[in-house]
Amino acid sequence: MDVLIQQLFNGLTLGSVYSLVALGLTLVYGILHIPNFAHGALYMVGGYITLTMMTQAGLNYWIAIVVSCLVVGGLAVLMERLVFHPLRHAPAIHDKIAAIGIMLFLEALVQFIWGAEYQTMVSPYGQVVNVAGVTLTMQRLLIIVATVVVMIILYIFLKKTFTGATIIAMSQNRDGANLVGINTNRVAMLTFLVSGALAAIAVSLSAPINLVFPGMGHLVLTKAFVIIILGGMGSIPGAIVGGYILGFTEALGATYISNDYKDVIAFVILVLILTIKPNGLFAAKGGH
């Protein structure tokens, strides 16, 4: 029983990080209509920025996260302006190639600046908490709680504010949004900003339990792809639910079936869901 609760907790931690990454990916999907392959690289850059802010500039963990959000958000906006915006009338394959190019560029750049070796991010929340035989660490609790808070803020922003509504409108129909007077350029930049900030938050929360290194973006990117396909491309609730589904599947699958096959289990679930709902759990309406 203890093991079950422990694994549910582990799954929740994993799912939280996956959801945050998938959210950024799914938001940008609304603009680009392709998955942004460079999202994992943004995640990785965010890790290095937070780490550098903490170690070099001596900033507090939370302030470092804010700086990281701004820098990575800005980088994402720059990406949109310099690369994706000029390509907006080009065939979709150009966006894909450009995204892969950006990913390779950022990885090489990070390795050039910070080197290839593993680095450690020490968070101030290293304490271990034992509750009824289940081991929680403060950092993991923080991941779970912060993720929920970020999701609520994002929900309020998208559903209750005018600016948020323009993002939704544009992801549903770019031309339509333009016709009703929405400044699509501004919205595209805003979406990239939010997506970059989400990646920075995700990595800053999860990096203290692992390490910071140039390849870290790949760890989450493939999972985030699975999640947005499973949840429905471009769907926000889909990214959230999909993230938790994948987290729980990995934790419970590894426990009750086999650790060596936990990725297989995740893909079997993906196949099952797509068989029943070919567009994913929450296929975005007014699709593409």
């Binding site: 390795q111 290839a116 593993y118 450690t120 339990i209 692992n210 990725d263």
Partner: protein
Amino acid sequence: MGKKKFRFLSMILIAFMFLLAACSGGGSQTSGGGSGESGGKNVVNIGYSGPLSGPAAFYGERTLNGVKMAAEEINEAGGIDIDGTKFEVKVVALDDKYLPNEAGSNAKRLIQENKTPIVFTPHSGGIFALQVFNQVDNFIIGAYSSEPDIAKAQNPLTVMIPPRYDGYLAPFTKYTMERFGKKIAFLPTASQYGKDWAEALQPYWEEKGGEVVYNSSIDFAKDTDFFTIITNALKENPDVMFIGGASEPTAKVVKQARELGFEGGFVIMDQAKLDEMKRVLGDSYELLEGSIGVLPLVDSDEPAVPDYVKKYNEKFGEDPGSEAGLNYIAMHVFAKAMEAAGSVDDPQKIRKHIQDGLDALPAEVKIYSIPSFNEKDGNFEHDLIVGAVEDGKIIHVPAE
């Protein structure tokens, strides 16, 4: 139409330029031949193929640092002395991105362009690839990998530098069984190397009356968090955990295992180094209490070590590990073997004089105790000493 044609032509032109650049670049030098003369000086080229970019770049750089440092020392002392003629050592390094096929083509290039009598490579995949053709192409492999199959191949032109990892099975098993108990959980890295290690350890552990209660592996390239797998391993109440992989992620496994309440010992695969793991764990051996692994070079008792550590630190700004240290001593052995063989370009002769090279090694480079070379299997026979953590300090555990 004209525009299209122009575009096509310019693309071809650009592609051609890249091709040219690829041909001329990369090869870091082009002096004439393995033992040719360049600028009035005799030069012997030593080849190196290892990961210098990508996720394993830091590992490749450390191994290369060892070779380079030795080469510089040899040159400072006047070079390799072949019957009165002095040869300068020049290291030619190529990047193979940790891929066996790239190592193969790099070696071909080193032989053809630089006539290197020796090619160092620091990964078992690359070594196996080179063993396919090194007798035909006539060069020695400076093999930096502890995989016993490299020696079992009995390749007459291979020199295996580190201790074979099967030598660790006995001391690791004895120490952890006596101190903690007989139940072990296997959680090594998911690489081929990790699996081979596990397959060697399991029968030995069971033969000594132990039991493997959990057997899986961690894929450091896929998993962001190890809590799930460690929870499952701890469910079986192991006394000891077998872990390993690159030092830093392995250290995170230790940390998470302790967070989940594991109080037993760790058997640490030779790929991970205790001192490098310590750096990730807040510069303290506290969490590593009861671990056994390769003795960190900085904790070695060999008289030459303190000076070497100091010199390495001045040069590269970090403590050397065995990656740098073993390649360093190997390069010195090769230089002495060339002197004993009286040749810098006959690999077979050089290989026959490796033992003489070991015997002629000056005291100040003896940072490891290597009394003999196994002519048949082609591996250095080390005086194996392993390190264990007791009361927050490294203690020496003799292998016998």
